[in-house]
Amino acid sequence: MHYERILIYESGCSEMIEEIVKISDLCVEARSQAETIRAVNSVSLNVLKGEVLGLIGESGSGKTTLIRSILDLHERNVSIVHGEVFFNNELVLDTSKNVNKLASLRGKHVGMVFQSPRASLNPLMTIGALLDEVLRKYGGDKSKADRKKQAVEILNEMGLDGARVYRSYPHQLSGGMCQRAAIALAIATKPELIIADECTSALDVTTQAEVITTLKKLKSDYSTTLIFVTHDILLASELCDRLIVMQSGNVVEVGETKELLRNPQNPYTKALISSVPRWK
Protein backbone atom coordinates (compact mmCIF):
# COMPACT_ATOMS: atom_id res chain seq x y z
CA MET A 1 0.00 0.00 0.00
CA HIS A 2 1.19 3.45 -0.74
CA TYR A 3 0.09 6.40 1.30
CA GLU A 4 0.85 9.94 0.30
CA ARG A 5 -0.70 13.09 1.42
CA ILE A 6 -1.17 16.48 -0.14
CA LEU A 7 -0.73 19.24 2.35
CA ILE A 8 -2.20 22.61 1.68
CA TYR A 9 -0.22 25.27 3.48
CA GLU A 10 -1.56 28.61 4.60
CA SER A 11 0.19 30.30 1.72
CA GLY A 12 -1.93 28.29 -0.62
CA CYS A 13 0.91 26.39 -2.25
CA SER A 14 0.61 22.65 -2.45
CA GLU A 15 3.39 20.21 -1.96
CA MET A 16 3.59 16.44 -1.92
CA ILE A 17 5.09 15.24 1.34
CA GLU A 18 5.46 11.58 2.18
CA GLU A 19 4.39 10.17 5.47
CA ILE A 20 7.00 8.30 7.46
CA VAL A 21 4.57 6.99 10.08
CA LYS A 22 0.84 6.54 9.82
CA ILE A 23 -1.13 5.28 12.79
CA SER A 24 -4.78 4.31 12.40
CA ASP A 25 -7.29 3.66 15.14
CA LEU A 26 -4.69 2.56 17.68
CA CYS A 27 -5.95 1.34 21.04
CA VAL A 28 -3.62 0.43 23.89
CA GLU A 29 -4.74 -1.03 27.21
CA ALA A 30 -2.97 -1.19 30.56
CA ARG A 31 -4.05 -3.98 32.85
CA SER A 32 -3.80 -4.13 36.61
CA GLN A 33 -5.32 -6.56 39.08
CA ALA A 34 -8.13 -4.14 39.83
CA GLU A 35 -8.98 -2.82 36.37
CA THR A 36 -8.08 -2.38 32.73
CA ILE A 37 -7.44 1.15 31.55
CA ARG A 38 -7.53 2.30 27.95
CA ALA A 39 -4.30 4.33 27.86
CA VAL A 40 -4.57 5.17 24.16
CA ASN A 41 -8.05 5.35 22.69
CA SER A 42 -8.57 5.05 18.92
CA VAL A 43 -5.75 7.40 17.99
CA SER A 44 -5.01 8.12 14.35
CA LEU A 45 -2.15 10.36 13.29
CA ASN A 46 0.56 10.75 10.71
CA VAL A 47 4.16 11.92 10.88
CA LEU A 48 5.56 13.59 7.77
CA LYS A 49 9.10 13.09 6.55
CA GLY A 50 11.48 15.78 7.79
CA GLU A 51 9.06 17.44 10.19
CA VAL A 52 9.28 17.92 13.94
CA LEU A 53 6.03 16.73 15.42
CA GLY A 54 5.26 17.78 18.97
CA LEU A 55 3.14 15.56 21.19
CA ILE A 56 1.86 17.61 24.10
CA GLY A 57 -0.49 17.01 26.99
CA GLU A 58 -0.51 16.68 30.75
CA SER A 59 1.13 13.79 32.58
CA GLY A 60 -0.88 10.59 32.13
CA SER A 61 -2.46 11.74 28.88
CA GLY A 62 -1.00 8.76 26.98
CA LYS A 63 1.86 10.48 25.10
CA THR A 64 4.58 8.04 26.12
CA THR A 65 2.31 5.00 25.74
CA LEU A 66 1.47 6.13 22.22
CA ILE A 67 5.05 6.63 21.05
CA ARG A 68 6.23 3.44 22.74
CA SER A 69 3.63 1.62 20.65
CA ILE A 70 5.59 2.57 17.51
CA LEU A 71 8.46 0.38 18.72
CA ASP A 72 6.42 -2.15 20.72
CA LEU A 73 8.27 -1.18 23.88
CA HIS A 74 5.46 -1.67 26.34
CA GLU A 75 5.63 -3.08 29.83
CA ARG A 76 4.26 -6.59 30.26
CA ASN A 77 0.89 -5.33 31.51
CA VAL A 78 0.40 -2.96 28.56
CA SER A 79 -0.64 -4.20 25.14
CA ILE A 80 -1.87 -2.95 21.80
CA VAL A 81 -5.43 -4.22 21.40
CA HIS A 82 -6.35 -2.66 18.09
CA GLY A 83 -4.92 -0.61 15.25
CA GLU A 84 -2.69 -0.32 12.22
CA VAL A 85 0.76 1.23 11.88
CA PHE A 86 2.53 1.96 8.59
CA PHE A 87 6.20 2.89 8.43
CA ASN A 88 7.42 4.27 5.11
CA ASN A 89 4.17 3.00 3.59
CA GLU A 90 4.87 -0.54 4.74
CA LEU A 91 2.40 -2.24 7.05
CA VAL A 92 4.20 -3.03 10.32
CA LEU A 93 1.21 -3.52 12.62
CA ASP A 94 -2.25 -4.79 11.91
CA THR A 95 -3.99 -6.41 14.84
CA SER A 96 -6.82 -7.73 12.66
CA LYS A 97 -4.34 -9.70 10.52
CA ASN A 98 -2.08 -10.56 13.45
CA VAL A 99 0.85 -8.69 11.87
CA ASN A 100 3.39 -7.17 14.26
CA LYS A 101 6.77 -6.18 12.83
CA LEU A 102 7.22 -3.14 15.08
CA ALA A 103 10.35 -4.54 16.71
CA SER A 104 12.07 -4.61 13.32
CA LEU A 105 11.99 -0.80 13.25
CA ARG A 106 14.29 -0.56 16.26
CA GLY A 107 17.80 0.65 15.66
CA LYS A 108 18.15 1.06 11.93
CA HIS A 109 14.87 2.93 11.31
CA VAL A 110 13.89 4.54 14.59
CA GLY A 111 16.05 5.93 17.41
CA MET A 112 14.90 7.14 20.78
CA VAL A 113 16.09 9.60 23.42
CA PHE A 114 14.75 9.17 26.94
CA GLN A 115 13.79 11.45 29.80
CA SER A 116 16.57 10.77 32.28
CA PRO A 117 19.95 11.36 30.64
CA ARG A 118 21.95 9.36 33.18
CA ALA A 119 19.57 6.40 33.41
CA SER A 120 19.60 6.07 29.63
CA LEU A 121 23.33 5.24 29.57
CA ASN A 122 24.86 2.08 31.06
CA PRO A 123 26.76 3.39 34.12
CA LEU A 124 29.48 0.75 33.78
CA MET A 125 30.43 1.52 30.19
CA THR A 126 32.18 4.48 28.63
CA ILE A 127 30.29 6.53 26.06
CA GLY A 128 32.78 5.20 23.52
CA ALA A 129 32.01 1.57 24.35
CA LEU A 130 28.27 2.27 24.11
CA LEU A 131 28.67 3.95 20.72
CA ASP A 132 30.93 1.14 19.56
CA GLU A 133 28.24 -1.38 20.50
CA VAL A 134 25.77 0.29 18.13
CA LEU A 135 28.30 1.01 15.37
CA ARG A 136 29.54 -2.59 15.41
CA LYS A 137 25.99 -3.79 14.79
CA TYR A 138 25.13 -1.30 12.05
CA GLY A 139 28.47 -0.01 10.80
CA GLY A 140 29.23 -2.94 8.50
CA ASP A 141 32.69 -4.49 8.76
CA LYS A 142 34.52 -1.37 9.85
CA SER A 143 37.67 -1.79 11.93
CA LYS A 144 37.69 -0.74 15.58
CA ALA A 145 39.83 2.29 14.73
CA ASP A 146 37.34 3.38 12.06
CA ARG A 147 34.45 2.90 14.43
CA LYS A 148 36.23 5.00 17.04
CA LYS A 149 36.87 7.74 14.50
CA GLN A 150 33.21 7.72 13.49
CA ALA A 151 32.06 7.77 17.13
CA VAL A 152 34.28 10.75 17.95
CA GLU A 153 32.94 12.56 14.86
CA ILE A 154 29.33 11.95 15.94
CA LEU A 155 30.10 13.25 19.43
CA ASN A 156 31.81 16.32 17.95
CA GLU A 157 28.74 16.98 15.82
CA MET A 158 26.67 16.98 19.00
CA GLY A 159 28.79 19.87 20.27
CA LEU A 160 30.80 17.71 22.64
CA ASP A 161 34.55 17.28 23.02
CA GLY A 162 34.42 13.96 21.18
CA ALA A 163 37.81 12.59 22.18
CA ARG A 164 37.24 13.25 25.88
CA VAL A 165 33.60 12.18 26.03
CA TYR A 166 34.44 8.97 24.10
CA ARG A 167 36.48 7.70 27.05
CA SER A 168 34.23 9.12 29.78
CA TYR A 169 31.73 7.26 31.92
CA PRO A 170 28.22 8.74 32.22
CA HIS A 171 28.80 9.83 35.83
CA GLN A 172 31.78 11.93 34.68
CA LEU A 173 29.54 14.06 32.44
CA SER A 174 26.95 16.74 33.21
CA GLY A 175 23.26 16.08 32.58
CA GLY A 176 23.30 18.05 29.33
CA MET A 177 26.41 16.27 28.09
CA CYS A 178 24.83 12.91 28.94
CA GLN A 179 21.69 13.85 27.04
CA ARG A 180 23.71 14.92 23.99
CA ALA A 181 25.69 11.67 24.24
CA ALA A 182 22.34 9.85 24.34
CA ILE A 183 21.26 11.75 21.21
CA ALA A 184 24.58 10.75 19.60
CA LEU A 185 23.74 7.12 20.41
CA ALA A 186 20.28 7.50 18.92
CA ILE A 187 21.57 9.00 15.64
CA ALA A 188 24.61 6.72 15.33
CA THR A 189 22.60 4.29 13.19
CA LYS A 190 21.33 7.19 11.03
CA PRO A 191 17.67 6.38 11.72
CA GLU A 192 14.93 7.99 9.64
CA LEU A 193 12.91 8.86 12.74
CA ILE A 194 13.97 9.93 16.21
CA ILE A 195 11.60 9.92 19.14
CA ALA A 196 12.53 12.27 21.97
CA ASP A 197 10.46 11.26 24.99
CA GLU A 198 10.43 14.15 27.47
CA CYS A 199 14.16 14.42 26.85
CA THR A 200 14.39 17.89 28.40
CA SER A 201 12.16 17.35 31.44
CA ALA A 202 14.96 16.36 33.80
CA LEU A 203 17.24 19.23 32.76
CA ASP A 204 17.64 22.82 33.92
CA VAL A 205 16.68 25.59 31.49
CA THR A 206 20.24 26.30 30.29
CA THR A 207 20.83 22.63 29.55
CA GLN A 208 17.39 22.40 27.95
CA ALA A 209 18.50 25.14 25.54
CA GLU A 210 21.65 23.14 24.67
CA VAL A 211 19.60 20.03 23.93
CA ILE A 212 17.05 21.97 21.87
CA THR A 213 19.93 23.47 19.83
CA THR A 214 21.23 19.94 19.22
CA LEU A 215 17.79 18.73 18.13
CA LYS A 216 17.43 21.73 15.79
CA LYS A 217 20.80 20.82 14.31
CA LEU A 218 19.52 17.30 13.63
CA LYS A 219 16.62 18.79 11.72
CA SER A 220 18.67 21.32 9.75
CA ASP A 221 21.74 19.16 9.01
CA TYR A 222 20.25 15.71 8.57
CA SER A 223 16.58 16.44 7.81
CA THR A 224 15.79 13.90 10.49
CA THR A 225 12.13 13.40 11.31
CA LEU A 226 11.53 13.99 14.99
CA ILE A 227 8.69 13.25 17.36
CA PHE A 228 9.15 15.51 20.36
CA VAL A 229 7.11 14.42 23.37
CA THR A 230 6.79 17.07 26.04
CA HIS A 231 4.46 18.74 28.47
CA ASP A 232 6.36 22.01 28.03
CA ILE A 233 4.41 24.03 25.48
CA LEU A 234 7.06 26.75 25.25
CA LEU A 235 9.74 24.25 24.25
CA ALA A 236 7.37 22.61 21.79
CA SER A 237 6.60 25.99 20.19
CA GLU A 238 10.34 26.61 19.82
CA LEU A 239 11.06 23.35 18.03
CA CYS A 240 7.98 21.81 16.45
CA ASP A 241 6.38 22.27 13.03
CA ARG A 242 3.11 20.64 14.07
CA LEU A 243 1.54 19.81 17.40
CA ILE A 244 -0.74 17.03 18.54
CA VAL A 245 -2.59 17.60 21.81
CA MET A 246 -3.54 14.55 23.86
CA GLN A 247 -5.90 14.20 26.78
CA SER A 248 -6.86 10.98 28.60
CA GLY A 249 -5.59 8.78 25.77
CA ASN A 250 -7.36 10.73 23.02
CA VAL A 251 -6.01 13.14 20.41
CA VAL A 252 -8.06 16.27 20.95
CA GLU A 253 -6.40 18.66 18.50
CA VAL A 254 -3.86 18.63 15.68
CA GLY A 255 -2.45 21.65 13.88
CA GLU A 256 0.47 23.68 12.73
CA THR A 257 2.29 24.94 15.82
CA LYS A 258 1.78 28.69 15.38
CA GLU A 259 -1.83 28.34 14.31
CA LEU A 260 -2.68 25.92 17.09
CA LEU A 261 -1.11 28.09 19.76
CA ARG A 262 -2.63 31.29 18.34
CA ASN A 263 -6.08 29.91 17.79
CA PRO A 264 -6.78 26.74 19.79
CA GLN A 265 -10.17 25.18 19.11
CA ASN A 266 -10.49 22.56 21.81
CA PRO A 267 -11.31 23.72 25.38
CA TYR A 268 -8.59 21.44 26.78
CA THR A 269 -5.98 22.94 24.44
CA LYS A 270 -7.11 26.42 25.48
CA ALA A 271 -6.78 25.47 29.15
CA LEU A 272 -3.36 23.91 28.52
CA ILE A 273 -2.08 27.04 26.78
CA SER A 274 -3.56 29.39 29.37
CA SER A 275 -1.84 27.44 32.13
CA VAL A 276 1.61 28.42 30.81
CA PRO A 277 3.11 31.02 33.21
CA ARG A 278 3.73 34.42 31.61
CA TRP A 279 5.84 37.45 32.53
CA LYS A 280 3.77 40.41 33.69
Binding site: L71, L73, E75, R76, R106, G107, K108, V110, G111, M112, F114, Q115, S116, A119, S120, L121, N122, P123, L124, M125, E133, V134, K137, Y138, Y169, H171, Q172, A182, L185, A186, T189
Partner: protein, 284 residues
Protein backbone atom coordinates in the same frame (compact mmCIF):
# COMPACT_ATOMS: atom_id res chain seq x y z
CA UNK B 1 55.00 -0.91 44.90
CA UNK B 2 55.52 2.07 47.21
CA UNK B 3 52.04 3.39 46.52
CA UNK B 4 50.53 -0.07 47.22
CA UNK B 5 52.37 -0.16 50.57
CA UNK B 6 51.14 3.36 51.33
CA UNK B 7 47.55 2.40 50.53
CA UNK B 8 47.93 -0.62 52.86
CA UNK B 9 49.09 1.73 55.64
CA UNK B 10 46.06 3.95 55.09
CA UNK B 11 43.67 1.07 55.89
CA UNK B 12 42.04 0.88 59.31
CA UNK B 13 43.56 -1.49 61.88
CA UNK B 14 40.60 -3.86 61.47
CA UNK B 15 41.04 -3.99 57.71
CA UNK B 16 44.79 -4.57 58.15
CA UNK B 17 44.08 -7.52 60.43
CA UNK B 18 41.54 -8.93 57.97
CA UNK B 19 43.79 -8.39 54.99
CA UNK B 20 46.74 -10.01 56.73
CA UNK B 21 44.68 -13.00 57.87
CA UNK B 22 43.29 -13.32 54.36
CA UNK B 23 46.76 -13.33 52.91
CA UNK B 24 47.86 -15.95 55.45
CA UNK B 25 44.79 -18.02 54.64
CA UNK B 26 45.47 -18.03 50.90
CA UNK B 27 49.18 -18.76 51.40
CA UNK B 28 48.36 -21.55 53.85
CA UNK B 29 45.82 -23.08 51.48
CA UNK B 30 48.40 -23.11 48.68
CA UNK B 31 51.66 -23.85 50.49
CA UNK B 32 50.41 -25.46 53.76
CA UNK B 33 51.79 -28.90 52.99
CA UNK B 34 55.33 -27.48 52.72
CA UNK B 35 55.27 -26.02 56.24
CA UNK B 36 57.31 -27.86 58.90
CA UNK B 37 54.36 -29.25 60.81
CA UNK B 38 53.46 -32.74 61.98
CA UNK B 39 51.49 -35.20 59.85
CA UNK B 40 47.81 -34.28 60.49
CA UNK B 41 46.77 -37.94 60.48
CA UNK B 42 49.57 -39.31 62.67
CA UNK B 43 47.93 -40.84 65.72
CA UNK B 44 49.43 -41.22 69.17
CA UNK B 45 46.94 -42.38 71.76
CA UNK B 46 49.43 -41.62 74.57
CA UNK B 47 49.15 -37.93 73.70
CA UNK B 48 45.36 -37.80 73.29
CA UNK B 49 43.54 -34.57 74.27
CA UNK B 50 46.70 -32.61 75.11
CA UNK B 51 45.92 -28.93 75.80
CA UNK B 52 47.57 -26.05 73.86
CA UNK B 53 51.16 -25.15 74.78
CA UNK B 54 50.22 -22.17 76.95
CA UNK B 55 48.13 -24.28 79.33
CA UNK B 56 49.39 -26.60 82.03
CA UNK B 57 50.17 -29.99 80.50
CA UNK B 58 50.63 -28.51 77.04
CA UNK B 59 53.79 -28.94 74.99
CA UNK B 60 55.50 -26.87 72.30
CA UNK B 61 55.48 -29.96 70.09
CA UNK B 62 51.68 -29.63 69.82
CA UNK B 63 51.11 -25.85 69.75
CA UNK B 64 47.30 -25.98 69.75
CA UNK B 65 46.96 -29.32 71.49
CA UNK B 66 45.76 -32.69 70.19
CA UNK B 67 42.46 -34.49 69.64
CA UNK B 68 41.29 -37.76 71.18
CA UNK B 69 43.51 -39.82 68.86
CA UNK B 70 46.55 -37.66 69.59
CA UNK B 71 46.56 -35.95 66.18
CA UNK B 72 48.17 -32.51 66.14
CA UNK B 73 45.45 -29.83 65.96
CA UNK B 74 47.74 -27.15 64.49
CA UNK B 75 48.77 -29.47 61.66
CA UNK B 76 45.11 -30.35 61.05
CA UNK B 77 44.20 -26.66 60.89
CA UNK B 78 46.98 -25.98 58.37
CA UNK B 79 46.10 -28.97 56.19
CA UNK B 80 42.37 -28.34 56.59
CA UNK B 81 42.69 -24.83 55.16
CA UNK B 82 43.11 -26.08 51.61
CA UNK B 83 40.19 -28.51 51.81
CA UNK B 84 37.87 -26.01 53.49
CA UNK B 85 38.71 -23.19 51.06
CA UNK B 86 38.46 -25.55 48.10
CA UNK B 87 35.04 -26.87 49.12
CA UNK B 88 33.57 -23.47 50.00
CA UNK B 89 34.94 -21.57 47.00
CA UNK B 90 34.06 -24.31 44.49
CA UNK B 91 30.52 -24.72 45.82
CA UNK B 92 29.94 -20.96 45.89
CA UNK B 93 31.42 -20.57 42.40
CA UNK B 94 29.21 -23.27 40.89
CA UNK B 95 26.08 -22.11 42.69
CA UNK B 96 26.75 -18.45 41.80
CA UNK B 97 27.20 -19.11 38.09
CA UNK B 98 24.13 -21.32 37.80
CA UNK B 99 21.90 -19.20 40.04
CA UNK B 100 22.96 -15.87 38.53
CA UNK B 101 22.34 -17.02 34.97
CA UNK B 102 18.90 -18.35 35.86
CA UNK B 103 18.08 -15.22 37.87
CA UNK B 104 19.05 -12.88 35.04
CA UNK B 105 17.12 -14.91 32.46
CA UNK B 106 14.02 -15.08 34.70
CA UNK B 107 14.12 -11.34 35.45
CA UNK B 108 14.86 -10.25 31.91
CA UNK B 109 12.57 -12.54 29.94
CA UNK B 110 9.66 -12.60 32.40
CA UNK B 111 6.41 -14.36 31.54
CA UNK B 112 6.34 -18.14 31.45
CA UNK B 113 10.13 -18.53 31.62
CA UNK B 114 10.17 -16.47 34.82
CA UNK B 115 7.26 -18.46 36.25
CA UNK B 116 8.93 -21.82 35.57
CA UNK B 117 12.33 -20.75 36.98
CA UNK B 118 10.71 -19.13 40.02
CA UNK B 119 8.62 -22.21 40.85
CA UNK B 120 11.65 -24.52 40.53
CA UNK B 121 13.60 -22.16 42.79
CA UNK B 122 10.83 -22.14 45.37
CA UNK B 123 10.64 -25.94 45.24
CA UNK B 124 14.42 -26.09 45.80
CA UNK B 125 14.19 -23.72 48.77
CA UNK B 126 11.37 -25.81 50.25
CA UNK B 127 13.53 -28.97 50.26
CA UNK B 128 15.25 -29.60 53.61
CA UNK B 129 19.01 -29.24 53.15
CA UNK B 130 19.93 -32.36 55.12
CA UNK B 131 17.37 -34.56 53.32
CA UNK B 132 18.67 -33.37 49.96
CA UNK B 133 22.29 -33.91 51.00
CA UNK B 134 21.63 -37.41 52.29
CA UNK B 135 19.77 -38.38 49.09
CA UNK B 136 22.51 -37.12 46.77
CA UNK B 137 25.48 -38.37 48.81
CA UNK B 138 23.93 -41.80 49.38
CA UNK B 139 23.05 -42.18 45.69
CA UNK B 140 26.37 -40.90 44.34
CA UNK B 141 28.68 -42.08 47.09
CA UNK B 142 30.76 -40.00 49.48
CA UNK B 143 33.43 -37.96 47.72
CA UNK B 144 34.82 -34.46 47.49
CA UNK B 145 33.11 -33.74 44.15
CA UNK B 146 29.75 -34.98 45.46
CA UNK B 147 30.07 -32.75 48.51
CA UNK B 148 30.81 -29.71 46.32
CA UNK B 149 27.83 -30.50 44.06
CA UNK B 150 25.51 -30.91 47.06
CA UNK B 151 26.60 -27.56 48.49
CA UNK B 152 26.22 -25.89 45.08
CA UNK B 153 22.69 -27.31 44.79
CA UNK B 154 21.91 -25.84 48.19
CA UNK B 155 23.29 -22.42 47.26
CA UNK B 156 22.04 -21.60 43.75
CA UNK B 157 18.44 -20.80 44.67
CA UNK B 158 19.43 -17.75 46.76
CA UNK B 159 21.16 -16.23 43.73
CA UNK B 160 18.12 -16.78 41.53
CA UNK B 161 15.81 -14.96 43.94
CA UNK B 162 18.06 -11.97 44.53
CA UNK B 163 19.46 -11.58 41.01
CA UNK B 164 15.99 -11.96 39.49
CA UNK B 165 14.76 -9.06 41.65
CA UNK B 166 17.81 -6.97 40.75
CA UNK B 167 17.37 -7.73 37.04
CA UNK B 168 13.70 -6.77 37.18
CA UNK B 169 14.80 -3.35 38.40
CA UNK B 170 17.69 -2.94 35.92
CA UNK B 171 15.51 -4.13 33.02
CA UNK B 172 13.24 -1.13 33.50
CA UNK B 173 16.10 1.37 33.47
CA UNK B 174 16.38 3.63 30.48
CA UNK B 175 19.64 2.22 29.19
CA UNK B 176 18.20 -1.26 28.72
CA UNK B 177 15.21 0.17 26.87
CA UNK B 178 17.71 2.24 24.87
CA UNK B 179 19.63 -0.89 23.93
CA UNK B 180 16.42 -2.61 22.88
CA UNK B 181 15.54 0.44 20.79
CA UNK B 182 19.05 0.20 19.31
CA UNK B 183 18.20 -3.31 18.14
CA UNK B 184 20.78 -4.97 20.40
CA UNK B 185 19.94 -8.66 20.92
CA UNK B 186 18.59 -9.96 24.23
CA UNK B 187 21.59 -12.27 24.68
CA UNK B 188 24.02 -9.40 24.23
CA UNK B 189 22.02 -7.20 26.62
CA UNK B 190 22.01 -9.99 29.22
CA UNK B 191 25.71 -10.86 29.00
CA UNK B 192 27.29 -7.47 28.32
CA UNK B 193 24.96 -5.07 30.12
CA UNK B 194 22.82 -6.75 32.78
CA UNK B 195 25.40 -9.21 34.15
CA UNK B 196 28.09 -6.53 34.78
CA UNK B 197 25.45 -4.45 36.57
CA UNK B 198 24.48 -7.30 38.93
CA UNK B 199 28.07 -8.36 39.50
CA UNK B 200 28.39 -6.32 42.72
CA UNK B 201 25.33 -8.02 44.18
CA UNK B 202 26.58 -11.47 43.14
CA UNK B 203 29.91 -10.71 44.79
CA UNK B 204 28.26 -9.60 48.05
CA UNK B 205 26.06 -12.67 48.11
CA UNK B 206 28.95 -14.98 47.24
CA UNK B 207 31.07 -13.66 50.11
CA UNK B 208 28.21 -14.27 52.52
CA UNK B 209 27.63 -17.71 51.04
CA UNK B 210 31.24 -18.78 51.64
CA UNK B 211 30.62 -18.62 55.39
CA UNK B 212 27.35 -20.51 54.94
CA UNK B 213 29.10 -23.18 52.87
CA UNK B 214 31.84 -23.69 55.46
CA UNK B 215 29.16 -24.17 58.12
CA UNK B 216 27.11 -26.45 55.86
CA UNK B 217 30.18 -28.55 55.20
CA UNK B 218 30.79 -28.89 58.94
CA UNK B 219 27.15 -29.90 59.43
CA UNK B 220 27.51 -32.63 56.80
CA UNK B 221 30.80 -33.75 58.33
CA UNK B 222 29.05 -34.01 61.68
CA UNK B 223 26.59 -36.44 60.09
CA UNK B 224 29.41 -38.38 58.53
CA UNK B 225 28.52 -37.09 55.05
CA UNK B 226 31.44 -34.69 54.67
CA UNK B 227 34.83 -35.23 53.11
CA UNK B 228 35.85 -38.86 53.66
CA UNK B 229 38.84 -39.62 55.92
CA UNK B 230 41.76 -39.21 55.79
CA UNK B 231 41.03 -35.79 54.21
CA UNK B 232 41.10 -33.02 56.78
CA UNK B 233 38.66 -30.10 56.97
CA UNK B 234 37.83 -27.51 59.62
CA UNK B 235 34.19 -28.47 59.56
CA UNK B 236 34.96 -32.11 60.21
CA UNK B 237 37.30 -31.20 63.09
CA UNK B 238 34.71 -28.84 64.55
CA UNK B 239 32.09 -31.58 64.39
CA UNK B 240 34.31 -34.25 65.91
CA UNK B 241 35.46 -31.92 68.71
CA UNK B 242 31.90 -31.11 69.76
CA UNK B 243 31.64 -34.17 72.01
CA UNK B 244 34.64 -33.04 74.09
CA UNK B 245 33.74 -29.37 74.47
CA UNK B 246 33.59 -29.64 78.30
CA UNK B 247 37.02 -31.24 78.70
CA UNK B 248 38.93 -30.13 75.55
CA UNK B 249 37.55 -26.74 74.48
CA UNK B 250 40.44 -26.18 72.05
CA UNK B 251 39.10 -28.86 69.71
CA UNK B 252 36.15 -26.65 68.71
CA UNK B 253 37.62 -23.24 69.54
CA UNK B 254 40.53 -23.16 67.09
CA UNK B 255 38.68 -24.51 64.05
CA UNK B 256 35.85 -22.13 65.04
CA UNK B 257 38.22 -19.15 65.16
CA UNK B 258 39.65 -20.18 61.78
CA UNK B 259 36.14 -20.31 60.30
CA UNK B 260 35.09 -16.98 61.84
CA UNK B 261 38.26 -15.20 60.64
CA UNK B 262 37.85 -16.68 57.17
CA UNK B 263 34.24 -15.55 56.93
CA UNK B 264 35.13 -12.06 58.20
CA UNK B 265 38.00 -11.80 55.75
CA UNK B 266 35.89 -12.96 52.84
CA UNK B 267 33.18 -10.42 53.73
CA UNK B 268 35.74 -7.61 53.98
CA UNK B 269 37.32 -8.71 50.72
CA UNK B 270 33.84 -8.71 49.16
CA UNK B 271 33.30 -5.11 50.33
CA UNK B 272 36.66 -4.04 48.93
CA UNK B 273 36.00 -5.76 45.60
CA UNK B 274 32.54 -4.25 45.37
CA UNK B 275 33.99 -0.78 45.87
CA UNK B 276 36.64 -1.58 43.31
CA UNK B 277 34.09 -2.64 40.70
CA UNK B 278 31.64 0.17 41.48
CA UNK B 279 33.02 2.97 39.33
CA UNK B 280 30.91 5.65 40.98
CA UNK B 281 32.32 4.83 44.42
CA UNK B 282 35.85 4.65 43.08
CA UNK B 283 35.65 8.03 41.34
CA UNK B 284 34.10 10.02 44.17
Amino acid sequence: MKSKFRSFLSLTLWNKVLLTSGLLLVLTAIFGQFLPVADPNEQSLDYGLLPPFFLEGGTSKHLLGTDLLGRDLFARLIYGTRMTVLIAVSAVFLGAIFGTLLGVIAGFKGGKIDAVISRITEAQLALPFILLAISVIVSRGQSLSTLIIVLAIVGWAQYVRIIRAETLSIRERGFVTGLRVGGISDIRIIFFHILPNVFGTVLSLATLEIGTMILAESALSFLGLGVPAPSVSWGADLASGKDFIDMAWWLVTFPGIAIVLTVLFVNAAGDALRTHFDLRKRMF
